[in-house]
Symmetry: C2
Subunit: 558 residues, 2 copies
Amino acid sequence: MSGDPARRMRWWGWGDDAHDAALPDAAANLLRDELGWTEGPVRRPVALDDVRLPDPRLNDALRSRLVEAVGSDAVRTDRLERVLHSAGKSYPDLVRLRSGDALEAPDAVVYPASHEEVVGVLAACGDEGVAVVPFGGGTSVVGGVDPVRDGFAAAISLDTGQMDRLVSVDHRSLTATLEPGLTGPRAEAWLAARGLTLGHFPQSWEYATIGGFVATRSAGQASTGYGRIDELVLGLRCATPAGDIAARAFPASAAGPALRELVVGSEGVLGVITEATLAVRPAPAECHYEGWSFRSFTEGAEAFRMMEQSDASPDVARLSDEEETRLSMAMASTGSATERAGRAYLRARGHEGGCIAIIGHEGSAEEVARRRSRTREALKRGDGLPLGQRPGRAWLRGRYAGPYLRDALLDRGVMAETLETATSWSHLESLHAQVAAALRDALRTRGTPPLVLCHVSHLYRSGASLYFTFLARQEEGAELDQWRAAKTAAGEAIVAGGGTITHHHAVGRDHSPWMAREVGPLALDVLRAAKERLDPDGIMNPGKLLPTAAGGRPAGTT
Amino acid sequence: MSGDPARRMRWWGWGDDAHDAALPDAAANLLRDELGWTEGPVRRPVALDDVRLPDPRLNDALRSRLVEAVGSDAVRTDRLERVLHSAGKSYPDLVRLRSGDALEAPDAVVYPASHEEVVGVLAACGDEGVAVVPFGGGTSVVGGVDPVRDGFAAAISLDTGQMDRLVSVDHRSLTATLEPGLTGPRAEAWLAARGLTLGHFPQSWEYATIGGFVATRSAGQASTGYGRIDELVLGLRCATPAGDIAARAFPASAAGPALRELVVGSEGVLGVITEATLAVRPAPAECHYEGWSFRSFTEGAEAFRMMEQSDASPDVARLSDEEETRLSMAMASTGSATERAGRAYLRARGHEGGCIAIIGHEGSAEEVARRRSRTREALKRGDGLPLGQRPGRAWLRGRYAGPYLRDALLDRGVMAETLETATSWSHLESLHAQVAAALRDALRTRGTPPLVLCHVSHLYRSGASLYFTFLARQEEGAELDQWRAAKTAAGEAIVAGGGTITHHHAVGRDHSPWMAREVGPLALDVLRAAKERLDPDGIMNPGKLLPTAAGGRPAGTT
């Protein structure tokens, strides 16, 4: 009773052991050169049996209520289940877990199999005063699924893994109604069997769920073309402690404020999304991915802006800055003749030290050809240099690899973390510079000068997103302080520079200090008023999204 | 002190006397034949001096507070101002006004000139317990600006006409920040001077305002291409009795629920929108409008669906059903040789008795040519027959004429009313049939068999909107009962048939009974909770949007 076995990740890291990533030699050399890192003994996580768990506080009354709601097989209290649900997959989560700290583990993990069972679980927890943490794929990188007790007697994880059906498809209207626990691959498999695709591929896609996408307002790698999840959600159903909210799937409406938009991005603090009706598209017959080069990030961003504003954008559009380009070329370096020829080609055209872009088109052969021709025209007008499909194919192969590599780096004592923002085209370059500088300063000050890489990952007519990756030697024994210093510096730079604190990772616990500054105290109060109405006892995912005085231990403390 | 003089409509009808529409002979003949209407004496509205107004209940304390907030010139209590702000422009509004009933007129009309002055007005009204009705162009057709007192001592209209500036433009990001009182033409003139357009053209465009567009979640005639106002609003500022809400203009964000979406469509019940940052586009160099014919509504709707789902839609896409096509051809008939040739052309191709569509493209010459070629291909594949630019030009000439014609019909004792919905492609045809049948039955039962016309007005990947017009002989002395019977029948059919109660006219007072059924009681409670937080004394636009027990007199009563 734990849903699709493929969705189980190893408790201390990403994915399963079969996909373990070795650190390539080129990467090791680079870390040595650039981070002052030295090879030491591999730091492995503690054994599962050595993980520290709180004593379970599931009293008999609650247990029998839960069993009544979902059946005894679906109420789990064993060590592995509790550890697996004790955190998401953020850097601080992994640091804590690897060291054996699962002190926030839930008292039980419950697997409802239907909307009605979810309602039963919420009623039981409401009556017994127990916190409920909705859990999809558990891939949160912002502390979104940590079982913060926040004064409650106990906390359970409500895992949606048993709610993994395709409810219905409307081929004429190109919509599909899906249950929340479907993982990315399962949802795509159901849809593919019907000739359709959702086209939503975040890096967490292999494990993340439909419910998680909707609850975190996620963007996928192809969302420039397919649209963000908030553009794909037409209708939904949400079970709250006070009852159901159902937003019907109209193509558009002027019947008051869009209440659907209150549930999308609500991160489990209002209730559990039990169904979503999403826009789908015909499954693409062709996927064409290619590389482009620009002399500079400035030039590439300007080409992207012109392309987007003339409606010539592809489905995937990514532009690495100079540093990310340099690093990824170095990491992939094999010293082959092809590689040397490639470098010579770039040098001859004045593109040495420039920036690589990935451009992807999906659709029917006719669509891909037609759209590609407009994209190419726009990129050439912006002085882009086409590099053919090889870089595109390489990117496709590695598109979900980042989190596996992070585990390999943690094994070697290297911090690897990512964060993202979005801003207007007018602020894009200054924000890029300010956030990178803030990260560099914060970590240099601590004696661990980082590598800071960035790419534009999603395009909009009015602006774009920036996705930062930073790497530094871990401060052994002060890993979380080090992380918090970098995260805080970046958050402050983002808010000061006109960006949103998150473009697609959501708020969770880690971003809540900036949430208030971004939306303002009154808007936050409105959200609190909505929560009080839907969740009067405050049992739903305490300590997330809404900054509270009693939000559990701050992110990154041990 | 009443803003742009061009925005003043005649108090009893639409537009100004200079644009008075005469009823064409062909139309009069048609009404005679089809509605059993007989020419009688023209029924003109009563004289302004004979309009019945409530005694003004503006006490000295409130008056001096208002004068303090906005200056004495900006606090108006004269007859014309009060009558002009006593209602919107719905059919029941006009029936009442023409008969001399302005018994809901506000006690004063206040013209703040800035966000700060709005804040001052709200504070004064909060302290004195006075209802505040935000008023833009006053073009509501759903009772959105009626000064419902709802137990308050007095009610004022807060007219945004003095807040009519373009605040700023960001050419790189293609955004503009506008004040709420700018009318459609003024906003477009400001933007055109900078080479830009908002592209938002509802039929009320000549008088409606930016604030009204945002507050009612409006769609314009070209919104299939440019996007609805809710797709164009990136940021906004709203003054509420509890303070300001400011949603920053990010291109996208995952920082929790979209609180902006709570203000868009809030119809003045939460506060006054004092600024909006909107996506704009380069002003089109070319506007190309053309007519198409389909053998049936079914065939045309299917062609539109295929066109929209293959991303080949134009900016304007309208498809009249058989009845609307027949009526508009008859109304426009001159018996000319050209017209006879046109009919022969349609007959020869099996399109007699079919449906006319209007297809409009705007943009650079290159864009229009490129997009037109894809649209044409899609429509031809759907068995459409191109009719050239003449029908397109005729539609453009008459695009804002409907409401003027309604006045001419009211003069002759003919009811003319419109209503709209949207639904999925799967439900489109059945909803079309059900709503039309409900209107016909309801009015036939009353002995006034109607003409019921409909067109598809906006396309979405998952569905489309349906816009109904109905005409019937007025039941003299029971005009509002007659209207209510038709409106109720249509509303019930819409909800039962899977449509939204409004696609772009908003909720106001007239749709609030169906609002609860559409969103459900709990979602409505959440909206109430938001209102209680932002407007604790309930002074903001009472009786609108949210169904209340004490919502003033029901729509359509005298």
